[in-house]
Amino acid sequence: MTDDILMDIKRDYVLSRIRAGERIDGRKFDEFRPISVQTGIIEKAEGSALVKLGNTQVVVGVKMQIGEPFPDTPDRGIIITNAELVPLASPTFEPGPPDENSIELARVVDRGIRESEAINLEKLCIEEGEQVWMVFIDIHALDDDGNLMDASAMAAIAALMNTVVPAERFEVGEDFPLPVQDLPISITSLVVDDKLLVDPCRDEMSVGSNLMTITSDREGRVVAMQKSGSYLLPEEKFYELLELSVAKAREIREAVESQIAKGGRNGEDEES
């Protein structure tokens, strides 16, 4: 009961600020929270990254295994993306098999990577029709302060860029870096009345979860879109989202790249 009243008050407050042209944390409508990307934090994984988007934190680990290719793509590696919304990350997550939210999260992140052809899957063929590399991308949410989607997509591509294919351990040649050839960025916005708020934080989502995620590649092409949430989106708003998301992705891609370039293989401060 008390919780409901608190939620109501929070929602009213958030809405009144938005209508006054402001966000509760002082950001501009098209402004992301501070981004931190640390790669290589899980030595036992073939690749890994911890992404912080404000207080939202996601770890992605990449593991490689050898398996059989799908019959219709005998010369291509396989991507398997999985998300666990472990109950550690939010009071609303419960232990158990993946629910529709974690499935959607994994599938939208997967589509961004797959459709941008971020991984050159042909280079992951070991023996056509027999053996190919399987890339397991495991998304592990640690703290859900909103927009797990974009944080997960960033952590996934950063972890992939950090991945070394363990060919020696599997006795199929020499280790080599995973061939990553694009850097898709997903931009999620919250639609509130006629306003679009990129990178919504948890408190902002008290007004509802009217979300749109648009992922684009280096060339500024759209590679994945997902309307998520029970709402109706006016057509003109969608075109606005489209422009905004592709432009914003360019900016965020630069930030991510510079963070990855800095290295970040710095176990010492990964939690500070």
């Binding site: 993946p98 529709e100 499935i103 590679v223 709402y231 057509e235 969608f238």
Partner: protein, 276 residues
């Protein structure tokens, strides 16, 4: 498998033009037990939708005291695809069920049915690309057939990019080998497209192509919308009964009475207008 050429001499593999839909067949009220139902074919897709409710929700803690709880279950029959599908939900069908439910939720007048549940169950008996949009089209008709009050009709279609060309309503080969797939659903009300209810995309499109895909989808759904309405009208004429509650049904009925001389239901219609 080698990618086949998908456009030959300016025509698609099945002879269609770029902006042409596959043959569509819609029939409302095909099941006895369900409160509303619809059978729909779109190309080789064969879809059956059923609506139960508004009805009581069990267990009680799943009830919402302020509005109806909507469930949507997209399910593929094991024999609906080339390789037998293991029965039961997989990750794909869980995601489709989620976005489809979210497309219908803002359109159903949930607040009229506190504490109750409205269940939309859709079975894909045969799949041939575009099942999620075909299912939404069937679900929408089944909801109206069940007399569930709605703010309008949900009508959906997919657009694909194949061999560099945007095409409407891709069939299987175009879906498998195409460069992009955009399933999209609109709310249509009084014959006018009002908003986007479902939108997903995977593939690779420029901004400009994305915009054109939406425009192409809009052309497609207006044709499908007409067929949805006709299916409801046929059922209505067959039964000579009033479809209560739904704005869409009321509109259909009004049109019917105006265009086709039916008159005995006019009183009821204005009531429905008010209700909406």
């Amino acid at each position: 498998m080698e990618k086949p050429k998908l456009i030959v001499d300016g025509k698609r593999l099945d002879g269609r033009g770029f902006e042409e839909l596959r043959p569509i067949k819609i029939e409302a009220g095909v099941l006895k037990r369900a409160d509303g139902s619809c059978y729909l074919e779109m190309g080789k897709n064969k879809i059956i939708a059923a609506v139960y409710g508004p009805r009581e929700v069990h267990p009680r803690h799943l009830q919402d005291p302020s509005k109806a709880v909507i469930r949507y279950r997209y399910n593929m029959a094991p024999f609906s695809v080339e390789e037998r599908k293991k029965p039961g939900p997989d990750r794909r069908s869980v995601e489709i069920s989620k976005v489809s439910r979210e497309a219908l939720e803002p359109v159903i007048m949930k607040e009229l049915f506190p504490r109750s549940g409205i269940d939309v169950f859709v079975e894909v008996l045969q799949a041939d690309a575009g099942t999620r949009t075909a299912c939404l089209n069937a679900a929408s008709v089944a909801l109206i057939d069940a007399g569930v009050a709605m703010r309008g009709m949900i009508t959906a279609v997919a657009v694909a990019k194949v061999d560099g060309q945007l095409v409407l309503d891709p069939m299987k080969e175009e879906d498998n080998y195409g460069e992009a797939d955009v399933p999209i659903a609109f709310l249509i009300r009084n014959g006018r497209i009002e908003a986007i209810a479902l939108l997903q995309m995977d593939g690779r499109l420029t901004l400009e192509e994305t915009r054109r895909a939406i425009e192409l989808a809009k052309k497609g759904v207006m044709q499908i919308y007409k067929l949805q309405r006709e299916a409801i009208m046929r059922k209505y004429m067959r039964e000579g009964e009033d479809y209560e509650g739904s704005a869409e049904a009321a509109e259909v009925a009004k049109e019917l009475s105006e265009n086709e001389g039916g008159s005995e239901k006019e009183g009821g219609q204005s009531e429905q207008e008010v209700k909406e």
